[in-house]
Amino acid sequence: MYANFDLHLPKDLSAALAILGDAGDDAKVMPLAGGTNLIVDIRARSLTPAALVGIGDISHLRGIDVTNGQVVMGGKTTVSDILRSPELTDRASSLVDSARVFGGQMVRNTATVAGNICYASPAADLVPPLLVLDAEVTLERREGERTLPLSEFYLDYKRTARRPDELLTRITWPARSSDSVDLFYKLARRKGDAITIAGIAVALGVADGKCTRARIALGAVAPIVMRALEAERMLEGETLTPELIEAAAHQAAQAASPVDDLRASGKYRRHCVQVLTSRLLTQAWRRLS
């Protein structure tokens, strides 16, 4: 493998933001986190960055905290960190589930949440859970920071709202109580270390036997990880019945726009969106009642 690029290893966030800021809109200067997407692409020559800004040494970007009813996760948090976090087991079981079926051990140890989000693969496994948890992302640049819902972060296939000089520093979401359940299922052609064919997350909230909050996120079946908004609306305010769940799952499958690729046909993907959405909604509802 050969590749030519400058490697910056800033010691703190402001130094990192300064380097990115100097590069301005130059997308050839890229943040480097775990490198599990970036290095693969550089090796395959599908990416030829001029410079990489390593953020590995910025320790306060890593970690998970629960304060004031908010879960706050640093962008540099690794997939393994998610699995090791006692805070998350109860508060974000869909995210923990997706971390469990993410890559192999070596990849989990180095792959970061911000990398997963910013690479903007439609098959990114952490994104469907974060979407159903109503996560927000904080982007920082030399000039300041902004926070936006993750659902507004993705513009199109591998295009995001992030400016080239911004770092994703935090992911936050409201910590929920026991009247809410979130679940994730990864469908792939094998169980370990495989690229997702359909990654489905659902979250339901309940009060007085009625669904108060419904979230359905679909991975690998559209140009971006998408919410099935129409299907969600069908459920909110209702008591979920098998018929209603089936109808919502059908609606979610219709909303997807899957492609044919080496791993699966679009038709099969759509079928699985329906099957899995229905299963996960059924399970989630059963746990709440």
Partner: protein, 772 residues
Amino acid sequence: MSETIAGSRRGANVEFRQVGMALPRIDAPGKSHGKTRYAGDHVMPNMLHAKVLRSPLASARLRRIDVSKARELPGVACVLTREELSGRLAPTDIAGQTGRKRLATDQPILVNDRVRYQGEPMALVAAETVVIAERALELIEFDLEPLPGVYDPFDALKPGAPIVQGTDNVVAKYKVRKGDTEAGFAAADVIIENTYCTQFIEHAFLEPEVGLAWVDENEVINIRVSTQVIEHFRFIADAVGVPHNKVRILGSLVGGGFGGKEDVTVEIYLALLAKATNRPVRLCYTREDSFFGHGKRHPFTLTHRTGFTRQGKITAWKVDMTADAGGYVFLSPYVLLYATVAAPGPYRVDNLHVDARAVATNNMFTSAFRGFGAAQACIAHEQQMDEAAKTLGIDRLELRRRNFLRTGDLIATGVPIESAVWSDECMTRAWEALGERTPDDGPIKIGRGVAAYQQSYGRITWLHDTSEAWVGIEMDGTVVVRSGVTDIGAGQVSALAQIAAELLGVHLTDVAVYNSDSSTTPLAGTTTATRALYMTGNAVRLAAEAVRERLLRRAAQEFEVAHGKVDMADNRVFVADHPERSMALKDLVAVCASEGVHRSELVMFRAPFTGEIDPETGQGRVHPDYTYGAQAVEVAVDTGTGEVTVLKSVGAHDVGLAINPDAVAGQIEGGAAQGQGYALSEELRYEQGQLTSTSFSEYLIPTAMDVPEYKAIILESRSGVGPFGAKGIGEPALTPVAPAIANAVADAIGVRIFDLPITPEKVVNALQRLGN
């Protein structure tokens, strides 16, 4: 997890002390401590690094190739193309030991005019660093004129198809005409006909191809390389144009072969570059190079027509099979022959008709892969047996039992099977070991499957296979074994040490084995065809027995007892009935040495030699012997998503005798995993000859998350032709796995998927067809 069930001790005149014990293999400490130096771990001062330029097109004419810019790049030592090679060819046939002319299989070392498959090598570069070599590849300009290609063997057989090889693309044909199939079908109550398809498979060894070559002061081209076959030195010398004794191959422990390192890989490139530059040259394939660098497993299309009586007796069997040979011949004729011999499996079929052909296309060339055609044959005959059982309403195991071969029955090629056929015992035990059936759970349906097989061990008998080994005892009573055998990770060398330790009364750790050097270790043939233990194990046994015999004779004199009353164990020699009358082995050896008693022996072991089979009837001997066994599996199928989970998987094989049961269990477990990938997830896909599944993110071998705890059941009939009655297990361990899984999936969902791999999507489609 394994258990061993010993048969009778028939034929065993030695009381075993080492053989049959699960001793830690002698290669284990080096590997587990990271001390083992594989071929890629060797470097030399002043070494160059090589790279291969490959054709991006599958069918083309090389109009122009211009390497001037690459040669000008600082740090580039050498660039070779057709200009320098002036049409030099490399044979792609099996490494011969007979000196006879081989099949006409030659391939230009570098593309001369025509490109026949994607990835065919066009130029070689040697440079000071890998990076410079990579840059040099990019500076090579070439002009390829696309030619019409043919990418399906059935298309390649049509009149007017582009010709890839020979005059009609047929690179090999075999037939069996045994008994009277017409009459057999007439006598049938039920006739079952189906077509089964298998896919291209990648060996996916851990260690991609790698080697290091240098020319020494005697003009010998030395090549240290990861290979199954050090005896390619003859091919390599012929290809490069030097005498046979001027090429030396040094093997290393191999990080996986599975047949993918049976053909020449990097050796000729290294030899050419080392010779041209007079500097050491290293060539290490990346995984991408490896996908293009060695032949794949043949996809087969097999149509079976089988007649049965109501009672489930086979009356006639007709098999038609077509294999995709890809762009060059390589070992396709032999693979096809194995598939032909194995076509009816471990069953007695008096009326058999087989037509088989291997057809050249512009796909990647195909060659050896563990199972070697017999695996593809098994995928078909075992699914066919299940389909028949379903139609006949007879239990699947029972139907097999009613048709299994018995010792003395004639196999497909009309010769009697001489060793034990424990197919039923193996199948029954494997099935029983599945235990209680896991219950269905809503959309999750459970299914079970079994498959039995017949797989040869040892090479084709008209290749006149031989193997040499030297065994000697040192002055301190330690033992040395020298043999050219290569160890491809299955414990080949350790098994030889265990045999020598057994026969010379020492511990395994007292034996040193020097192997895999084509110049200094006696040539032992290939580590392929499940032959290493059979052939070299016998050579070591015979050599060790000769040394043992001399030592015991001398000891008998010393003890003043009759010859035959003396035994040896634990580094001592003693009177068998009076073990207190003993002496240290080293003292006996000292006596022998001072008297000039020969303390070593060089032995050549010869397999049975025959002529070829009758080309019209396919009748005659093809192999020394066969291994029999079975795999039983339980799977869970998610009928919603089509995902298949293997819950239980048991291999039971009659290995004749297990020299080291742990090593045998390792083979069985590895075969179970490799066969699972074959059944469910692995597939190299070519579109118009272009590989589209180019990495391990698309080519999916099972991970630890995908496999259950495999179970190995070892049966020992002591009836094989290997040392102490051993048979072979390397290839057999894989052969029944994929069809057992296919049968289990069909059992779970009530519908069969006739083409491998059984992907979740195919399962869903099959269920939807069933629903409509």
